[in-house]
Symmetry: D2
Subunit: 373 residues, 4 copies
């Protein structure tokens, strides 16, 4: 009996070795992913980056590197320490903070990866997207869809700082990443400034001769003044239990997401707002445009204030708090919702216990270490 068992084991071992040499593997020895509640902790952890760290590092970077042929962009990528040295906060999205000093040009290039810019500081520099010059003001969202030529030029007197959000990890995981440098410095302007905003921007109207709907928004800039007004208007009439006053930027030609691979949201957390927790299969990278507060992620409290960034991996319970009793907080975020919706993979659950609120079990610093120490 023992001999037979040994013999069977031996036979198996030979078999497993043989199939491996034939380029096969036994499915029954693979591990299955668990049901949702048993999902093993993703290596992409929740993350937080403080503005003071970012800003100081940008200032130092300005002394070391200058945008140009060698260093195309002076941008600091936000990395998830759980997946070092991955240069992305989540498994689908990158985020970086870019600075262009007065007189500098970040030369034109293009890539199949799509990008958004959310403007943080400075006023009046230009992003050139396929011949359309787009002027930048804090709070503006600017799109540079995949394979569009784009470069940046700062002719103002002050440094210009913005968030770059891209779908790089997604596109790379699909092996669809292509890049091409522009042979000259800046791909030239062929359209008036803010051309696409002039076509679609001020109301819900479209030129009668432009009837095509495309998955990529034909409007490339969403000005902050309108965005803020939208949120303040919505705040008067409705809100979400999980995200308070939250809006998705939309493609005026479809009413859907602005890009097929990346969604953008702006959230207003009203003074003293404390949302209920939920979780979903998508991930979000947040930038605190204004205000201060906390987000509790799987029991860990991340405190944030103006300028900070934080990232939420998929399937984490999370809830938001505005700590101010008088000032709203504005959170901009990128997400991979369009991907999950297109592929039929979006799932969401509400946190059922404790009236929807998690118990705080640790601070972010205590759980993940404070990178500044």
């Amino acid at each position: 009996m023992a001999i037979e068992q040994a013999s069977l084991t031996e036979i198996s071992d030979v078999f497993y070795r043989d199939v491996q040499s034939l380029g096969m593997s036994p499915l029954w020895r693979s591990t299955q992913p668990g049901p949702r509640d048993g999902v093993p902790a993703a290596p992409y952890q929740p993350c937080h980056w403080s503005w003071s760290d970012i800003e100081r590092s940008l200032v130092r970077a300005a002394a070391i590197v200058k945008p140009g042929p060698e260093a195309e962009r002076r941008a600091l990528q936000l990395c998830n320490p759980g997946v070092a040295p991955s240069p992305s906060p989540t498994h689908t999205l990158t985020a970086a903070v870019q600075m262009v000093m007065p007189g500098e040009i970040a030369p034109s290039h293009r890539h199949t990866m799509a990008a958004i810019r959310f403007i943080i500081q400075g006023d009046g520099a230009i992003t050139m997207v396929n011949g359309e010059p787009l002027s930048m003001t804090p709070g503006d969202l600017i799109l540079t869809p995949g394979w569009c030529w784009h470069g940046h030029i700062n002719r103002t007197e002050a440094p210009m700082i913005w968030m770059d959000g891209l779908d790089v990890p997604l596109v790379r995981s699909l092996k669809a990443g292509l890049y091409e440098g522009y042979p000259d410095e800046l791909h030239p302007a062929t359209k008036p400034i803010d051309h696409s905003v002039s076509r679609y921007g001020s109301g819900h109207l479209r030129p009668v001769w432009e009837q095509t709907s495309t998955k990529i928004s034909p409007m490339l800039k969403f000005p902050w003044a309108q965005t803020e007004q939208s949120l303040r208007d919505l705040a008067k009439v409705d809100s979400s239990p999980f995200d308070d006053v939250a809006m998705q930027y939309t493609n005026p030609s479809t009413g859907g997401h602005v890009l097929p691979t990346m969604g953008c949201w702006m959230q207003l957390l009203r003074p003293e707002a404390h949302t209920r927790a939920h979780r979903h299969s998508t991930c979000h990278v947040y930038h605190v445009f204004r205000g201060s507060g906390s987000t509790i992620v799987d029991g860990v409290q991340i405190d944030w204030k103006q300028g900070d960034f934080f990232a939420l991996p998929p399937d984490c319970w999370h809830e938001h708090l505005n700590r101010s009793s008088s000032e709203p907080a504005f959170l901009f975020s990128t997400n991979d919702l369009p991907v999950f919706e297109s592929l039929g993979l979006y799932r969401e659950d509400a946190y059922a216990e404790r009236d929807g609120h998690q118990e705080v079990v640790a601070s972010y610093a205590a759980r993940y270490g404070d990178s500044r120490n």
Copy 2:
């Protein structure tokens, strides 16, 4: 031979009589519609109504009828004299001008026909649409989609006047018209004022929890300030050879038409603009919101000024002129484009001769008679 012929004719006559009695008719005796250039003059002719006639008639109507259970609306329908007594300017669209005096209520009702209101005079009266109070200011477009309860109330000190545009002839031709009176005076408000504008109005964003796309715009009011700004913005960058600076109001949930049966446009004719002629299978009813000029329709010149209405039947050559050298003209119009697009029946041709401009062969008064004389 003659006898045989006579005999055949006789046989035929008996046959034709017989099949008729059997509820049939010989297709070979039907007339076919002609090719486009041979389309027989439609009974729906181009029409023009002057604001002074309309306004004076409204004032007189105010002395005769009061909105209420007996006369639900004090509205003057614009009729096409070519198809008397048809109470509509085209075969698919109605247009009327409605006046509600201070203190009056036009009671709530609903019908499967969809309606739009374009505000002409007065400021601050309310249209109540399915519980949403919508305040009215000149230049605003307000939707009352099919089968929504709607009524009007004027609590201001001044008369309120607006255009009503409906799809009544279309819906009646489809035998899909239903009407229901509301048992009380005004269907009550259940939402804050301009609720849907608060949700969608100020920018290209949507509440994250409202992801459904519907053929009926969820936004029920398009304020003039935004519309005007949109046109002035577009004027800076682009225009159509046939319609100058023309925009279609859009459904924010789809980017398409605001209603499945009726489209709405606002056109800015720049000073001294003279467009090229074209024709299309759709028809338009125009209201001159501001400015003065002419539209040449199949060689007949219609001169229009602020407040006037005019209607273009399908398949007429038409071109527009702004007679002012300094002031823009703003033309609001309703059309049946969504129907023709959905059913695959839209066709359009550019006028090829004389550099795109028709020869004027008659004035409107000369051709169709001036109704005022």
Copy 3:
């Protein structure tokens, strides 16, 4: 007082006369359509045509008229006696029965109106649609979408008879009807026979290089063998309380209707089937392909057998019976569902009383007269 009243009436009368002369009419004197239950009897009544009448009339017509330049089609249109001399059974659809004798050609023409053919008798004649020859066998559905060149040729030894179903009244009511005769006899074949069936017909697959979706089915013939099998398969697993085993022909590029203006159904009523009554805003024109039974329409019983046609106006209560205890009945029908769905006008109610079955109050002959007497 009496005088004042008289005076007011006089003032009103003058007003009404004046506004009429100005091309306007008072809305408050218009009649509104009623709520659904009060819909006044439509002039388009339910209709029935017997096959023996049709067939005998076709034979007589063959002696009188021959397809060619003068009489393009030897087709008998089915007319609704309620709307004489309207050559259509409903307000949106026409139906005719066409016969092409051996050796005859019905010459090519095209029109913006879309047509379907449902083959009744004969085997092997050809309909040529934009260069694609489509062979005809009883039970086949053939599409000739709007503005496609089409003609018919019978090179077989026997007469060929089919149903023509068109959207003529709809397209005419939209004033979108154009017609063009082909300068020669038959627009020539440029594709192999049944070309589009070869591309899409035998399974749920599409050529990988044909990815466009269009509102007009790229497949122009739906062969009877497949249709019958589909119905017999469906009968094994499911049915509708109102229509028994009923299927809609679909556009393989979208899964939706075959044409944007006209839908086609094939229904199998199982032996002794008696469906429940319902009503809807759309209308149907039925051809009894096989079997015999009755349809009760607003309490009036229409008895039908193979070859007969009958038409149901909108908003009539109707239920179907197969009178055979052994044989299925097959009902082909055309409808205006795509129009009502596109325009958001479709409504449907189930008959709530008497377990869903109407009381029969009259025979068709008793109510509407028997055209044969």
Copy 4:
């Protein structure tokens, strides 16, 4: 000077260390993907697996493992040797060959990953998908969409062998993989056998009461007889220069792909067919259902015969040859086209040189080693 340089280097080094400790990385030190022609060789190489290896391994596996609670599936996964030990042939798709012996049950489970089965050997075993029993015959395609309960049971006298194709690497890369075991052996049947085929299968018709369109095909089995007929029909009228007679299985409710994450094709290579080379951003896993021939991939010749599998990574030049002068070859394949189309990432180029044909520079064995030696 040297000192200054040293000093700058030192400053930089400190900076790079610091930003890394702060969870950031300098974008300018990241590598960009190259333009398409410079794409570095993907670790996922072209692969080939011979049927004799697979079949012999399955027979050996039958002696070692039995489907049941411990080994849910007796399936051999095809692995890409370039990315050992990755159990998938491409970066988005898995392929495995499963065998169920007479009397065996592969117990029910479900997962968010979608699967297809393509039947290779045996006749009459059952796959149970959410209560629908689907019988299996060689050449059939069976879908088990994401999160559907599914299990297999073989009550026939012979082994049943099929291909399993899943989107596992894609779904895992999106961290959206969930799995749940069914508490009992087989999730029970609640529908008649081949229920969804009865609803949609035999022609282009749909039950009139089923009007919803979904991204997941409501028809779960595509029988071989229809598929073969479709290809033979198409071969009569059209073909692609790159794929000869190639068809995509379609979702009858949309006309599009059968699943949102995975497409399926069946290709007929006619005798002596030799297609032109092209490349695209998507990848394909092929199973040779019938016939023999070669596929040249980036100059490397893969010879294949009935039963073999081969996989093409993205962006490889490839062309197909049927070596037989009399017999067609049938190639089934899965691909990630729906993903690339939804996300706007599909790209394709034709091979421009040498009349579209690559030079063969190596055999598969010479380039990648023959796993059997």
